[in-house]
């Protein structure tokens, strides 16, 4: 039946790692860096544990080409509330990385379009910075970022930095803007027609944002006749175990913690619970 080995390490046991840097990015989002290498791939996530409070699945926001890893925390529950009170030097329990991540090899040599809504940029940044550090391996890059309000923007320094890289275009929009905003106003789909010099049907299109955003972006890509094989979505679920057992992240037959959270859109054809 199985090897009897009670000394085997528990898959639920987190490893403690100190937070090395924290910074508020806006009123609700906190940036965190941990000098703790976990051997992740872009698009994976970790389970963050605070003993006495609980665990929460959190996207990894940095590329594996950098030391340690970054997270961006929105206050959304018990664990993230406590994380917001933490400072450099405090320790977090970490399990993972979990999930399958982005299909990097398949993306090599191709033009890539990132469509991000709000903190959807957070996991996408793990792939974007991987590309920046391996720039020659990839084609042209378009990064589309939509934010509800000016005050909620995140990673704006980085958006500027990426915009300065050869072959990279950054398009930003704000849903409801004040007069001081000179950029595009409207939802993120209004940026798609402004992409310059990339054939969407030949590019790999990577979408991440709130649940409501997917349908609209997918509709526009459908109009542009982008094949479903060339679209990847990054889905949100409440993974409690991260290892395909607890059932909480299941959508139809798929355990998002194992086969996701990044999915090829065509693979979701028979997964009506996906979005």
């Amino acid at each position: 039946m199985c090897d009897c080995n009670s000394t085997e390490k528990s898959i639920y046991l987190p490893e403690l790692a100190p937070i090395t840097k924290v910074a508020m990015m806006n009123e609700t989002e906190m940036y965190m860096h941990l000098d703790h290498d976990i051997g992740h791939k872009p698009g994976q996530f970790v389970e963050v544990s605070i003993a006495g409070i609980g665990e929460a699945p959190i996207s990894i926001s940095s590329s594996p080409t950098e030391a340690g890893f970054d997270m961006v925390i929105r206050k959304a529950g018990r664990v993230t509330d406590i994380m917001h009170q933490m400072q450099a030097g405090d320790k977090l329990g970490i399990r993972g990385p979990f999930g399958s991540g982005y299909p990097i090899d398949e993306m090599k040599g191709k033009d890539l379009v990132f469509v991000c809504g709000g903190i959807g940029l957070v996991p996408q940044r793990s792939m974007i910075n991987y590309i920046m550090d391996n720039r020659a391996d990839f084609g042209k890059i378009a990064i589309l970022q939509g934010t509800k309000e000016f005050a909620q923007r995140i990673y704006h320094d980085e958006l500027e930095r990426w915009a300065g890289v050869d072959g990279v275009q950054v398009l930003e929009t704000i849903d409801v803007a004040h007069d001081s905003w000179n950029g595009n106003v409207g939802v993120v789909t209004t940026l798609i027609d402004k992409i310059d010099g990339i054939d969407l049907t030949k590019a790999v299109n990577l979408i991440c944002g709130p649940p409501i955003m997917y349908k609209f972006v997918l509709m526009v890509l459908q109009e542009k006749e982008v094949s479903h094989e060339n679209i990847f979505v990054n889905l949100e679920r409440r993974m409690k175990c991260g290892v395909g057992k607890c059932g909480h992240c299941q959508m139809n037959g798929q355990y998002v913690c194992q086969s996701g959270p990044v999915y090829r859109y065509s693979d979701l054809a028979n997964i009506p619970e996906a979005i």
Partner: protein, 351 residues
């Protein structure tokens, strides 16, 4: 390995000597008023308490492998965690074939991919004495699910040859062989005994059929392939209370929740896992209060798809409903019966 015959007295002293050993012994005991006058597994104090003629227990024996609540970690608040693994040895007496098959499925699910040492350690410390069904329960449909007899997973299989006067006991593992050897007065079973046992098992294959599924269990996956939008989900779920009784009484449900508890000293505590159920309304909630299975019918459908389609893909096609009928009895609005739902689909769809 041996096949023995134990008469009533030999069997009783066999059970009593187990109870006298250093291992805890758990078996099916007398019906409990507080448990709706149903049989229940519990710690045995003497052999007379054991009821191997029971029909079905309120809660399946999976609770000994995956307890309702168990500690995964102990910790200092905001500090270091230590894993907690329960290494208590246990003998479990009187597991029916359908429940054994459910345990076998869980063994596979908790050991595949990422090995769950909490479950598996507990499992490996349990010696299972299975027993063939003597009295069919009110809602059993093990005949339809091909779970009326079991061939593996247990250490010893008992078959009552008639009114508890004689048992055939077959050991199929080293652990079972060693345990059976403690029944020193048992005799070797002869061909006639084994033929009697086969007759009982053959009869059970046909007679544990209070509900009849109108297709083979192996056809459920292709049936469900075409049934996602069928009106039955809404029809049935209309009266669902989302109480999760179908989950908690199910021998193959293994989804769980994880919560941290802090002790009164506010310094240390435990991370606990406890049974959860996909019929409960918050099961698929994520941050921001978005619920991916908000509608009752989507939760109702999810359970029957897990049993007939999703879990089978993880365990080599075995259907994750073993026909115990517990959910049928537990469901107040009487909508949980998987056979009723699958048969309703079969009226409209050819698998």
């Amino acid at each position: 390995m041996s096949i023995k015959k134990l008469n009533k007295d030999v069997f009783k002293s066999f059970v009593d000597s187990m109870i006298a050993s250093d291992q805890s012994v758990v078996g099916v005991k007398e019906k409990v008023q507080a448990k709706g006058n149903k049989f229940a597994f519990g710690p045995l104090e003497n052999a007379d308490q054991l009821r191997l003629d029971y029909d079905v227990t309120l809660i399946p024996p999976k609770k000994y492998m995956l307890p309702q609540t168990e500690t995964l970690l102990t910790y200092e608040v905001k500090g270091e965690s230590k894993q907690h693994v329960d290494e208590q040895k246990l003998i479990l007496v009187g597991v029916h074939p359908y429940d054994m098959i459910a345990i076998n499925q869980m063994d596979e699910l908790f050991s595949q991919d990422e090995y769950d040492t909490h479950y598996m350690t507990r499992r490996n410390n349990i010696t299972v004495i299975a027993c063939d069904v003597v009295n069919a329960s009110e809602n059993i449909f093990a005949s339809s699910m091909e779970t009326a007899v079991v061939e593996k997973g247990f250490d010893i299989l008992l078959t009552d040859l008639g009114k508890g006067k004689e048992y055939v006991a077959e050991a199929i593992t080293e652990k079972g062989e060693a345990l059976l050897a403690t029944a020193v007065d048992a005799t070797d079973a002869d061909d006639k005994d084994i033929a009697k046992r086969s007759a009982i098992q053959e009869a059970n294959k046909k007679d544990l059929d209070k509900h009849t599924l109108n297709c083979k269990p192996s056809e459920l996956s292709s049936l469900l392939e075409q049934a996602y939008e069928h009106p039955v989900w809404e029809e049935k779920a209309k009266t669902c209370f989302s109480c999760g009784s179908c989950n908690t009484t199910c021998p193959t449900c293994y989804c769980f929740d994880v919560q941290d508890l802090v002790n009164w000293n506010l310094k240390d505590g435990q991370r606990e896992r406890s049974w959860d159920g996909c019929l409960l309304k918050d099961f698929a909630n994520v941050a921001g209060d978005h619920n991916f299975r908000k509608q009752k019918e989507s939760r109702f459908r999810h359970r029957l798809y897990r049993k007939g389609k999703y879990v089978p893909t993880k365990i080599g096609g075995q259907v994750a409903c073993v026909g115990c009928g517990r959910c049928v009895g537990a469901c107040v609005p009487d909508i949980a019966n998987p056979v009723a739902v699958y048969n309703r689909l079969l009226e409209d769809i050819k698998p």
